[in-house]
């Protein structure tokens, strides 16, 4: 399959992840959708790396994985803290930015 197919798959997964962020209310699932989007980007990066024939894209993908890991850590820490304080684990209930 040509590189274009991989890029198409990546775009599809990215769009699915974006839609998921908009639809779901559970912050955990929203974080999972964020992971989806990151992975789609990773796929695109690897595809381009193959296209050019050097390893830059793969290094970048690794760094993206590192960043994703950090982000997940902090995000899950937030959710744990929310749960500790008996706050509802629902993104729509967290409205203190309103107004």
């Amino acid at each position: 399959m040509t590189i274009g197919w991989y890029l198409a798959v990546s775009a599809l997964i990215f769009a699915i992840g974006a839609g998921g962020v908009l639809v779901r209310r559970n912050p955990l699932v929203i974080l999972l959708c964020l992971e989806l989007m990151l992975n789609a980007a990773n796929l695109a990066l690897i595809g381009f790396s193959r296209m050019w024939g050097n390893g830059d894209g793969q290094i970048f993908a690794l760094i993206v994985m590192v960043v994703a890991a950090c982000e997940v850590t902090v995000g899950l820490g937030l959710i744990v803290a929310m749960h500790r304080r008996r706050l509802p684990i629902d993104v729509d209930e967290m409205r203190e930015l309103q107004g």
């Binding site: 599809l12 839609g19 955990l28 990773n42 690897i46 390893g55 899950l76 749960h83 304080r85 629902d90």
Partner: protein, 209 residues
């Protein structure tokens, strides 16, 4: 042969993605994501990125998703009602958003006029995607990003511990006054049982919480 594998892996990835957003139970979503990640690893292999594929399975699916599973189990599903479905209008809106995004990205990617997209890529050089190449690149060209990424990991770890530790916080303020903190509060030695480092390090007996 590679075509078949491509389609299987691709379908697996897309199915996993849809599963993530569609399944109600967050644990099932996590499992769907795991499946999605493994399919992606297969796609990486097809693209000759061996090391990245391995890292994906071990680090991403192996560590990060396990972390997710822990938290999902801890938080549980019953204490926090997910609430009603967002409603028809919001779902359709999200759908439209996603569709628009897909269409745009397709146009951007496929109509970009890059000749090489229509090919299989550059000619294969032995050692492409191998750990040896990755390592060489990491320690020569991409040394700075490598170091910064490790620093970022350190910061994230500290941040996670800080966020999630127990402490007597603002919800136990003085009666009659709105919960506030002042500089004096920060300088005062912390009472026991609030998750201080001394307790965590085992220097002091942990109080009852």
């Amino acid at each position: 042969m590679s075509t078949v594998i491509f389609f299987i892996a691709g379908l697996g990835a897309i199915t996993g993605a849809i599963g993530v957003i569609a399944l109600q139970n967050p644990l099932y979503s996590v499992l769907a994501l795991v499946g999605h990640l493994i399919s992606l690893a297969a796609l990486f292999l097809l693209l000759r990125a061996e090391f990245v594929a391995a890292a994906q399975v071990i680090v991403y699916a192996g560590a990060v998703m396990v972390l997710y599973v822990f938290v999902v189990s801890y938080v549980g599903n019953d204490a926090a009602p997910v609430g009603q479905n967002p409603g028809r209008a919001a779902t359709l809106g999200a759908f439209a958003c996603g569709a628009a995004l897909v269409v745009e990205l397709f146009i951007a990617v496929l109509g970009s006029g890059l000749q090489a997209i229509g090919t299989d890529g550059a000619p294969y050089v032995a050692g492409f995607g191998s750990p040896e190449q990755i390592g060489r690149l990491l320690l020569t060209r991409f040394l700075a990003p490598f170091e910064i990424a490790s620093y970022l990991l350190l910061v994230a770890a500290v941040g996670a511990v800080t966020l999630a530790r127990r402490r007597g916080g603002l919800d136990q303020g003085i009666e009659g006054q709105p919960p506030t903190i002042s500089v004096a509060d920060l300088l005062r030695p912390r009472p026991l049982g609030t998750g201080t480092m001394a307790e965590a390090g085992g220097r002091v007996e942990v109080g009852d919480q």
